[in-house]
């Protein structure tokens, strides 16, 4: 969203509503795509506004995917990419719309995974509390959000590289805590046999069921972020990203908005973390180590941060490369392929794969009005 757009949004009276701080979940058409019916709140109208043919094609595609793909592609590629994408989405939201690059998103996710293992069932029977999943999961998510908010409190007063440094420090600190704490976090070994729940007749350990679980969470997360960035809160967040001092002068509490963004991002990352823990059936310090923290950043950058879908596009490419690069180059050289592809994409398109897509579109069609344009890089 450009500053000009933002100014127009204020002039159109949206600012008055924003200062009254309506609930962020309430749909409000600040950046109306379809200005002819700005007051329509109906379900059908909402769908018509939000969905295009492209959306329907992709939606149908992801829904029938498990029926055409092998269990391997359903589980290891599909479900893993969706879960990783959800964690990367939290970073896309923070970095792309809030201008805050947090490396601690995987730490929040890992913490949620650890909490599910501690509250729920695992092989470490001396530690796990064996609560049913419908108690364990909400508690885990809630505590992870509290942690994410705390990370936000610590890091929002910093800018740019310092935000990266402080979140990196928090992530590494938690990694070593998990590595060395035996009473609660079970040290190096972590928790084995953390299985997804069985609900009725559906066992979410099965590839297809787990895929749909991951898909449901990913879709909810995606549409939530897509919606959030158009609410007064989201618009204010982008305003803070583009010009913090002007937003402050306009009477916005900059710090509170940023901390709130961390909390929301924390929830997305926590859901992704629970999914990835169930996916691996285990969690250990290595699951949230430095390498994995950076992988999340790589996924977000690879996909492109201008739109929430970039996180998932990046995750799919990343997971495919991780799995199949070794088939292209034998033995220990295959990491060169992974690195090379990242380099090529970032070099030729600073906006990631979405940037490439936008370039193709600009040749063959009109520019999408929904892309999150940034004036200040």
């Amino acid at each position: 969203m450009s500053a000009a757009y933002w100014r127009r949004a204020i002039n159109s009276g949206a600012a008055a509503r924003m200062q009254a701080r309506p609930s962020p979940t309430q749909p409000s058409v600040v950046v109306g795509v379809d200005r002819s019916e700005p007051t329509t709140r109906g379900w059908v109208a909402f769908l018509r506004r939000e969905l295009s043919v492209r959306h329907v094609v992709i939606l149908v595609g992801v829904l029938i995917y498990p029926f055409v793909a092998s269990p391997f592609f359903t589980y290891q590629i599909g479900a893993q990419a969706l879960a990783l994408g959800l964690i990367a989405l939290s970073l896309t939201m923070l970095a792309g719309y809030g201008g805050m690059v947090s490396l601690a998103q995987m730490t929040v996710a890992g913490l949620a995974g650890y909490l599910v293992a501690i509250f729920g069932h695992s092989a470490a029977t001396a530690i796990s509390l064996n609560w049913p999943w419908w108690v364990a999961v909400p508690f885990a998510l809630a505590l992870a959000v509290v942690f994410a908010t705390a990370v936000g409190w610590l890091s929002v007063r910093t800018e740019g590289i310092y935000t990266i440094m402080i979140t990196l420090a928090i992530g590494v600190a938690l990694f070593y805590l998990a590595q060395q704490n035996y009473t609660l976090l079970n040290g190096h070994q972590g928790f084995n046999q953390v299985f997804p729940p069985k609900i009725g007749d559906v066992d979410f350990r099965a590839p297809v069921a787990f895929y749909y679980l991951a898909l449901a969470c990913a879709l909810l997360g995606y549409f939530f972020v897509k919606h959030l960035v158009r609410t007064p809160f989201g618009v204010a967040l982008q305003g803070i990203r583009d010009n913090q001092r002007r937003m402050h002068a306009l009477g916005y509490n900059v710090m509170a908005h940023r901390v709130a963004a961390y909390a929301v991002g924390g929830l997305l990352a926590a859901v992704g973390g629970v999914l990835i823990t169930w996916y691996n059936n285990r969690i250990s310090p290595g699951s949230m180590g430095l390498g994995v923290m950076i992988n999340i950043l790589v996924i977000a950058v690879l996909g492109g941060m201008k739109h929430p879908v970039g996180a998932f596009v990046g995750a799919i490419v990343f997971v495919l490369l991780q799995n199949f690069a070794i088939d292209l180059v034998d033995r220990e050289r295959f990491n060169l392929v992974i690195g090379g592809v990242f380099l090529v994409i970032v070099l030729f398109s600073p906006d990631g794969l979405l940037g490439l897509w936008a370039m193709v579109r600009s040749r063959f069609g009109p520019q999408s009005p929904n892309t999150n344009q940034r004036r200040h890089p």
Binding site: S70, P71, F72, F73, Y75, Q76, Q80, Y176, Q179, Q180, Y182, G187, H188, Q189, N192, Q193, N280, N281, R282, S284, G286, S287, G291, L320, L321, Q322, N323, F324, A325, I326, D327, L328, D330, R331, E332, F334, N335, V341, V344, I345, F348, S349, L356, M359, V360, R363
Partner: protein, 418 residues
Amino acid sequence: MKVMKRRVWVRSLLAAAVAAAVVSPAWSQETLKIGLLATLEGPFAVPGQDSMRGADLALKEKNGMAGGKKIEFIKLSSDATPDKAVASTRKAVEQDKVPIMIGPLSGDEGIAVKNYAKTQPGVTFINGSSGAQATTLQDPAPNFYRFNTEGAQWMVGLGEHALAKGYKKVFLIAEDYGFPYSQVQGFMASYCAKGGKVVDKAWVPLGTKDYSSVIARMPKDIDAVLVVLGGSDAVNFLTQYEQTGGNKPMIGGSITVDQTVLNFKGKRRESLLGTASAGPMADSIDTPEWKKFVADYKAAFKDGFPSPSLFAYLYYINTKATLDALDAVKGDLSNGHKAYREALQKTNFKGPAGTVKIDSNRNGVGPTYITEVVKASDGSFYNKVVKTVPDISQTLGLSETEFKKMGLGSRDVPDCRK
């Protein structure tokens, strides 16, 4: 639009690369694919490469054929984390459709792969070099075979040897994860039973650089230090122990007294002489089988080590057992691998470092070599075999009930302070 064309071209190239990767090569009757997993990334990347050499050597000896079929290794990598090991194994099994899978390299990976093996009853899993006790002792998978002995077995006999040398009280320093737990148990099981005392244990995180706090709390009245550290950790400890004036003799774990330690150049170098350690193999085994193995390894891999590492040896025997059994059934994998698995169970061959066979839990039963550091005529140090303990079972020579009473090795098990 030159830039644009180039970008489109790069995109197409990438798409083609991904497509080429996704479409796996067509199945051929003549070729049998076997998955081969080792750590080609992360902290064990160098041992991982040598593991691959060990497996390649076993296949090379058979001219690339087993059971009348051409064998093709589908090579896979992990970074020593269980997550990655299972992901790579799953790819080989479910995507590349390998009927037989060899790997992984390290202990925690082994447990994770064993758990995955249970969900794939139609595939036969052979261990690579992982040595966690729990893999075959706790809840074993019926289709997971381990032809090598594990970490605790490798230390059996070292306890008695230490007592014979007059070490009645030792202080333990070891890395804080599964493999050293097993090693320490293997040492302590017989050491404690015969009256030795381990007065205190210091568990340090993998990759510790500063040992001063551990050295400071070492009691004065000990006879020796039991050091179960690997690679650079061992050298760092040794250097700092020397700098603070430590002078107690050392007892080493199976991966402690390796070439990096033997080439230690400090003032204490001479005091390394006599350091005892134990393992499933030793560089100086004086049998024709071992000498042939070393010569073959050297001839096959110009870029390899001067002598095959522990990992190359373990992957070698596991791969050899895999291929021998294929020969025995003439490549017949029908009926859910029934005949093949029976052949695997019957495995009994003379490997480079002693007999290779397995017990009813499908875990290796084999010899352990007790070694001591001695000086060669050219002044270099090497591990000389002083004793061979044959046929060590996974219960460390104890009866099954006695062993169960002790439990698996952990930070606090076993314990004999006083």
